[in-house]
Subunit: 344 residues, 2 copies
């Protein structure tokens, strides 16, 4: 049986000492890490700053989320926002609100996932806050990245004639979530039943352990390509397209046939009686990059087989349209996940 140490036994300072004692530093710009009133960093470039709050029961369900994966994902969702600015993350601050349901060993596991993510992406944990919570687990991560001013990509730079591109494939994380929720119900109804996740390796991993697209930003860097606009896909393709078009004051035609969907996502969607394109449009948490490029850069993008050109930016008057495989045009509307709105 695994040992369980109550956090109250070692206190806040004891817990911080324990989880931070072997923290590595990868960046010379991290001047002072954990252990003072604030961290100190130094960058000759512009800094980008982003923060995300993850709350148990809203953003994650510990019935099917391993703690180490949760830590990994908490870092990843923030790095993804930094990459979406065409910047490179360098530091994170990580805060925890922890109820007495959680042992020291549980926090060790979450931290292990965070450290693994930081090691793989060469990011430094330089600070944070640790406190109690009356109920459940709260994780807040802030990420700091850097990039030279002229290379930062905003949501508002798309121009008529630009090509709309996306990395990877879409809808998988949402299908992974649906399968995990289904298996949770099976388990709750009959704890002795066997859980079958073997057929869903890819989509479940996309839900539980997403990867931010550092490789795409490195590709841009190597190729000296600066997207005219960019956003990461956290709420669903539809929602993100609307953000880019509205902030850039342009329209768009999205080609259904070019939207990348993995075979496993496609098959799972059909088996659950969901239209695969709906998963791609409205399923959240893909953490892929949606961006626009000047058409002169098409040859560069064509070299990267993990980038698909999925549409074209148009005049705002033409609206924001999905061109279906059947040849019809529909308005794109945001059906993605809005944590505060009661979605149907």
């Amino acid at each position: 049986m695994e040992s369980r140490t109550e956090i109250s036994k070692i206190g806040e300072f004891g817990l911080i000492d324990r989880v931070t004692k072997d923290i590595a530093t990868y960046n010379a710009s991290s001047i002072k890490g954990i252990g003072d009133d604030a961290a100190v960093v130094n960058s000759a470039q512009h800094q980008v700053l982003t923060t995300d709050l993850l709350i148990e029961g809203i953003h994650f369900d510990l019935v099917y989320t391993p703690l180490k994966h949760l830590g990994y994902k908490a870092i990843m969702v923030n790095l993804s926002d930094v990459y979406a600015m065409n910047a490179f993350p360098k530091q994170v601050l990580v805060s925890f609100g922890i109820s007495n349901r959680f042992s020291v060993e549980a926090i060790d596991e979450i931290y292990a996932g965070m450290k693994l993510a930081c090691q793989r992406y060469q990011v430094d944990i330089v600070g944070g806050d640790t406190t109690s919570s009356p109920q459940g687990l709260v994780i807040s991560v802030t990420a700091i990245g850097e990039q030279s001013f002229e290379k930062i990509a905003y949501r508002n730079g798309a121009k008529e004639g630009d090509l709309l591109c996306v990395s990877g494939d879409l809808g998988a994380a949402y299908m992974g979530l649906k399968i995990l929720q289904r298996e949770k119900q099976v388990f709750l109804n009959a704890p002795e039943a066997s859980i079958e996740l073997d057929k869903f390796t890819y989509i479940v991993e996309r839900q539980l352990k997403p990867e931010a697209r550092k490789d795409i930003i490195q590709f841009f860097d190597t190729e000296q390509l600066v997207p005219t606009s960019m956003i990461d896909i956290s709420d669903g393709l539809s929602s993100e397209i609307l953000h880019i078009c509205q902030q850039s004051n342009v329209g768009c035609t999205l080609e259904e046939e070019h939207v990348p969907i993995a075979n496993e996502t496609y098959d799972t969607a059909l088996s659950l009686n969901i239209d695969p394109i709906t998963c791609a449009l409205n399923g959240g948490e893909d953490y892929e990059l949606l961006f626009t490029i000047n058409p002169k850069d098409k040859a560069i993008v064509d070299k990267n087989h993990d980038i698909a050109i999925i549409g074209e930016i148009t005049d705002a008057l033409l609206g924001i349209k999905l061109h279906t495989k059947g040849g019809n045009y529909h308005d794109i509307i945001a059906m993605g996940w809005d944590g505060m709105k009661k979605n149907v």
Copy 2:
């Protein structure tokens, strides 16, 4: 009767639009604020970064905490950490986890307090995250400040012979909390009873609406004084002295008779049968600055009547001591507030 709008009616994006539409920007270093994947800032100096997580039921009690004050204080506790590095805060990111108990108007109030704090301290709200919470309210604030490398003050720079100094007075916020908790009990036991807070204006304000000591950092800047070490007093004087001494590898003698305690704090402590020095040593949330200076700078500090010299740094072998008014020496031990440890 006041109107109540459910947050679910306007959704996350609607709420963000509402609370951020009139946000002012005070600093040229804030290049891009709310509305993209990340904020963009630029500084020629070093940056300091700090974050705090505030959770309902742990850090605040809404029975006696006005929402506007809560917003103000959430900003203040973070700015205090930036000032404690001898740096000037420039930007904040603010995140909310909100249960359906809270209306749009309630969030307006919290935001009003945050905006007021930011206006007074000339700090820009450049980003954040807003989401639901299954229970209660969660607030996470990250602050970014700047200072030139050679002026940043750490906890570990105190030297033997340095003078130990503190701004303002101590123990007031803790006495304010005790009074608020007592009046809450009176109210719960007899809702028709009148609440008497008139005699406690100062200590209640110190608890509900603390001010970070920007003025002290500006004084240092004007006088070209760099403290050899510094920390802000959030957990209590004892705890902070231990941090400085342990990280600087020095000892200290604290003179009880020089510890500044306001009359209202002193009288309230006696009326509650608490030794006033205990409030000053172990009461938290003063948000005053504790720092050490080279003795050559004593004449500068003497000019500022809101700074008290309360002791001297000694060799580590002499220990960390309180010299009482009665002439005795006691070891200083941390009895301050540790949110995760079961204190007696």
